[in-house]
């Protein structure tokens, strides 16, 4: 099959960007979308131009590094997969495919399709953990956890931190990402001691980073490659309300 690509090219954060067109000929439908991009990049390079920069690493949908908006949808047309798990058979012969970076104010474009998602790391640094230092942990089976709770916690912990939820949201909200971590730890006994100060610290950092608010359209859930449930957002909102009453803050961080 043959496809046309309309790809966002932008030299760096300051430079203006624009779409440029490329052709991908004789594409094997069993190629992954990123393999098709590799082939196109090879051709671009041979012509003496600069290849399209895009983030990727594991290429099996688990590291959360890949981050393209394909035909207007973060991670492309298929449900519950990341960009790297999108295959060319999902497109039509002769189709024009538009490829853009994840767009959101807190995710500045660094180059072409590469964006800076450092804001997510800073939210975790503000409180997305259990404060246990290495050593001295009790025997793992000393603390039974109901299978149901543990499975629910797992569902939330499956988040790969890719940022598709933010890119899908018209407000650029990070509520699905933040609530996934809040829920993962709030559902487990290990997370209880810091439950409320955690949610407060994380939400405060989220606001500081400039993410938008949630207006319950659930575009995030639909775009999530791991099908993280929007019900986590409700849990987070409840915990946040309690946190405001309790007024129990995390220790000051250095603001790294």
């Amino acid at each position: 099959m043959n496809v046309k690509l309309k790809v966002w090219r932008q030299k760096n954060t300051q430079a203006p960007g624009e779409f440029k067109e490329y052709e991908a000929k004789d594409v094997n439908p069993n190629m992954s979308f990123l393999e098709m991009m590799d082939v196109v990049n090879n051709e671009i390079t041979v012509k003496g131009e600069e290849p399209v920069a895009f983030d990727h690493d594991c290429r099996e949908g688990i590291c959360g590094m890949c981050s393209c908006v394909i035909n207007g949808e973060p991670h492309g047309p298929e449900y519950k997969v990341a960009t790297c798990q999108t295959y060319m058979r999902s497109f039509q012969d002769g189709e024009t495919i538009t490829v853009e970076p994840f767009r959101a104010k807190p995710f500045p474009v660094l180059r072409d399709l590469v964006v800076d998602r450092g804001a997510f790391d800073r939210i975790i640094q503000a409180g997305g953990f259990v404060s246990v230092s290495t050593g001295g942990a009790p025997d793992a089976n000393a603390l039974p956890v109901s299978k149901q709770k543990s499975d629910l916690a797992f569902d939330a912990a499956a988040c790969i931190g890719c940022g598709a939820c933010v890119a899908a949201c018209k407000n650029g909200s990070a509520m699905l990402f933040v609530s996934a971590k809040v829920s993962h730890l709030a559902l487990l006994p290990q997370g209880q001691p810091e439950r409320y100060r955690r949610v407060k610290a994380m939400v405060d950092q989220m606001d500081k980073e400039g993410f938008g608010s949630c207006t319950n359209t659930y575009a995030c859930e639909a775009a999530c490659p791991k099908a993280i449930s929007a019900s986590n957002i409700a849990r987070m909102n409840r915990d946040y309300a309690v946190a405001l009453l309790l007024n129990d803050d995390m220790p000051e961080t250095s603001g790294e």
């Binding site: 760096n12 094997n28 069993n30 190629m31 992954s32 393999e35 590799d38 990049n41 090879n42 390079t45 041979v46 003496g48 131009e49 600069e50 290849p51 983030d55 990727h56 690493d57 594991c58 290429r59 099996e60 688990i62 590291c63 590094m65 997969v81 798990q85 058979r89 660094l110 180059r111 590469v114 800076d116 998602r117 450092g118 997510f120 790391d121 975790i124 409180g127 953990f129 259990v130 246990v132 230092s133 290495t134 942990a137 025997d139 089976n141 039974p144 956890v145 109901s146 299978k147 543990s150 916690a153 797992f154 912990a157 499956a158 931190g161 993962h184 290990q190 997370g191 250095s254 790294e256």
Partner: protein, 638 residues
């Protein structure tokens, strides 16, 4: 320089506890904050080390090339992590885990290290659970276990098919906490390109900021490399695309010995290559071989046919034929080589002819599709996603792929390389898996090294060394910066015609053909001619576009592939010199009548530690593998 493995004296089971309590020096808590430690890598080994050292009070800088420390290759591990908890009451113990791991490594691992690994395995699970890692549980609320290859007990802890992800997120969160507290400074999208050695001690690194291109020096009291394995020297592998050996290789060039590079692991059940464009191979769990039957057509001319139309008598169930007792569950290395053999005979299937069938029709007839789906549904889905084929209806196609590298930088019992001050953790070092790694033991080793070994052993170096911390305006740093910058300029100015990807593919093919599943003297000698020739061509004919002061992914790759050329040669040389078969290293000349690996303990019970010799033949140093308590035996799983 002679190799001193610094294995503590005393009975095996007491070495580690005595080492910790009596033999190693401690750093006074108030002094810890005066020490700067540079940790390169934020996978399981690096993140756990950086977090733990910061908790102890050291000042830590941590580096990774991905955009976040959460994305290291460790995240992709599926199956699980071993620990001798004996929660099943099935007779597991530290001794049994130790024995299994030593045997699994085909008696080429260091006894004392492996025993320590088995000892601390239990602490790892406790620590991870305390962090909130959601391991699989039973209805009673206790932790669940599964069995893995090479063991007769059920000791593998898992978190669905995403154990690596959950363990890494646990370590990432511990690291994030220390970053938030200001105890660790994290440098994502930063690649280490050189180690700085002063008076023989590793005292700093030179990095490139992958966004701005800025070359920078970092000075420290010690340097820790936790930069993962080198499997991508084969180009196609189950590794993340970005995994590379530049950090360890550049340390090697600065004097650190590289040990046992020929010990590489090939996993038999991966989704085969579908075309020239292929960028990575995906692992399918080995558990499929419990119910799937492996076959290829007897006749070459049938290979292109729809497998369902090939009559039973025209199929060659070669594993069942060759290994009647083990059948489709023959060990990893044997199954891999058998698949290669039938494909070499021209009986491989699929578009490229490099594939064999894994057929579930018997199991479906016997058990019903529902039961098969319950057992393997997620794997069938994954297979469908990638190949668009329905394995309930048509046999899967599988082929072996490079999966793990047991070799790495040589380290002593304290995990310090022969360069004082340079420590190496996780897959990047060589010490714990010998010639073959058992499933679910890499995660265990990475976390053991980071959480429970390095926090003790680094103190011994810091407390005893007289070498202070240099300043980055020292001339050695300036020289290293200039060398790195010149190297980048050289790559950018090559002005040839072929892309990095093109060269990497060709190198990978040479490696796979001559240093893959089965190696011969002739093949390795050929590779040792072809690789340097291709490297010369690379130096002349590489085409890069763009510059240094910007995101330039081809430039990043070019540096990594440049190093792979040299590492590939060392791997082949090591394989050539090791005239025996053991674990993942199979020399066709050395096999038993029924095709099993034929070890030669008399001549080769040593770890081969290679010293870089600026472009000339590297020098071999041997560390004898001496077993104080274990008896070397022929590995048999019959």
């Amino acid at each position: 320089m002679s190799l001193n493995s610094k294995i503590p004296p005393g009975p095996l089971a007491q070495k580690w506890s005595r080492h910790k309590s009596d033999l190693i020096k401690l750093v006074n808590p108030a002094n810890k904050r005066k020490f700067d430690i540079l940790v390169v890598g934020s996978g399981l080994a690096g993140a756990s080390a950086a977090a733990t050292l910061a908790e102890l009070g050291y000042k830590v800088k941590c580096f990774c090339f991905q955009d976040s420390s959460r994305r290291a290759h460790s995240i992709a591990a599926q199956g699980g992590i071993n620990a001798a908890k004996n929660y099943r009451n099935d007779g597991d113990s530290v001794t049994r885990l130790f024995n299994d791991t030593i045997k699994g490594g085909d008696f080429r691992a260091r006894e004392a290290n492996v025993h320590r690994l088995a000892e601390v395995s239990v602490n790892i699970i406790d620590q991870c659970v305390a962090q909130g890692v959601p391991f699989a549980r039973e209805y009673g609320g206790l932790l669940d276990n599964r069995s893995f290859g090479g063991a007769q007990v059920s000791r593998t802890f898992y978190a669905r098919g995403q154990t690596g992800q959950q363990l890494l997120i646990g370590a990432y969160q511990a690291l994030s906490r220390q970053i938030g507290l200001g105890n660790v400074k994290m440098f994502p999208r930063t690649e280490m390109l050189d180690v700085v050695v002063l008076n023989g001690h590793a005292k700093g690194i030179v990095t490139r900021d992958l966004v701005s291109g800025k070359i920078e020096s970092h000075a420290g009291d010690a340097v820790i490399l936790a930069t993962g394995g080198y499997g991508n020297v084969y180009n196609l592998s189950t590794y993340a695309r970005g995994s590379n050996a530049t950090a360890t290789w550049r340390a090697h060039r600065k004097g650190a010995y590289f040990a046992n590079p020929c010990y590489t692991q090939i996993h038999p059940t991966c989704i085969p290559v579908s075309g020239e464009y292929q960028s990575k191979l995906t692992l399918m769990s080995e558990s499929l071989r419990n119910d799937g039957r492996v076959w290829v057509p007897k006749k070459k001319e049938d290979c292109g046919k729809d497998p369902r139309s090939i009559a039973e008598e025209d199929r060659d169930y070669y594993l069942e034929r060759k290994y009647p007792s083990y059948g489709n569950l023959a060990p990893r290395d044997i199954s891999s080589r058998a698949a290669k053999q039938v494909c070499d005979e021209g009986r491989g299937v699929g578009e490229t002819g490099l594939g064999v069938y894994l057929d579930f029709s018997d199991a479906i007839n016997r058990l019903g599709q529902k039961v098969v789906a319950q057992r393997y549904g997620n794997l069938f889905d994954m297979y469908h996603e990638i190949t668009h084929e329905n394995a309930y209806d048509i046999p899967m196609r599988i082929y072996p792929a490079i999966h793990y590298t047991m070799g790495g930088l040589w380290v002593d019992y304290n995990l310090m390389s022969n360069l004082p001050g340079l420590f190496v953790l996780g897959e990047a070092n060589f010490s714990d898996h010998g010639a073959n790694r058992l499933g679910a033991s890499a995660l265990m080793q990475g976390l053991a090294d980071g959480y429970f070994v390095i926090p003790y052993t680094i103190g011994d170096y810091l407390a005893t060394t007289k070498e202070g911390k240099p300043k980055t305006d020292n001339s050695e740093f300036k020289k290293a910066e200039t060398d790195v910058a010149d190297g980048i300029k050289r790559l950018l100015n090559t002005n040839g015609k072929r892309t990095v990807a093109d060269f990497h593919k060709q190198l990978g093919k040479i490696m796979w053909d001559y240093a893959g599943m089965a190696r011969t003297k002739e093949g390795l000698q050929k590779a040792l001619q072809e690789i340097p020739a291709l490297h010369e061509e690379f130096k002349k004919d590489l085409k890069l576009t763009g510059g240094n002061e910007e995101i330039n992914q081809s430039l990043e790759n070019a540096g990594r592939v440049d190093d792979f050329f040299e590492l590939g040669q060392l791997l082949c040389l090591d394989a050539l010199v090791r005239e025996e078969s053991c674990g993942g290293h199979f020399r066709s000349e050395y096999q038993t009548e029924d095709g099993e690996a034929l070890r030669n303990d008399e001549q080769f019970a040593y770890a081969a530690a290679w010293q870089y010799n600026s472009g000339k033949t590297p020098e071999l140093h041997k560390e004898a593998i001496v077993y104080e308590e274990t008896k070397m035996a022929t590995r048999s799983y019959k």
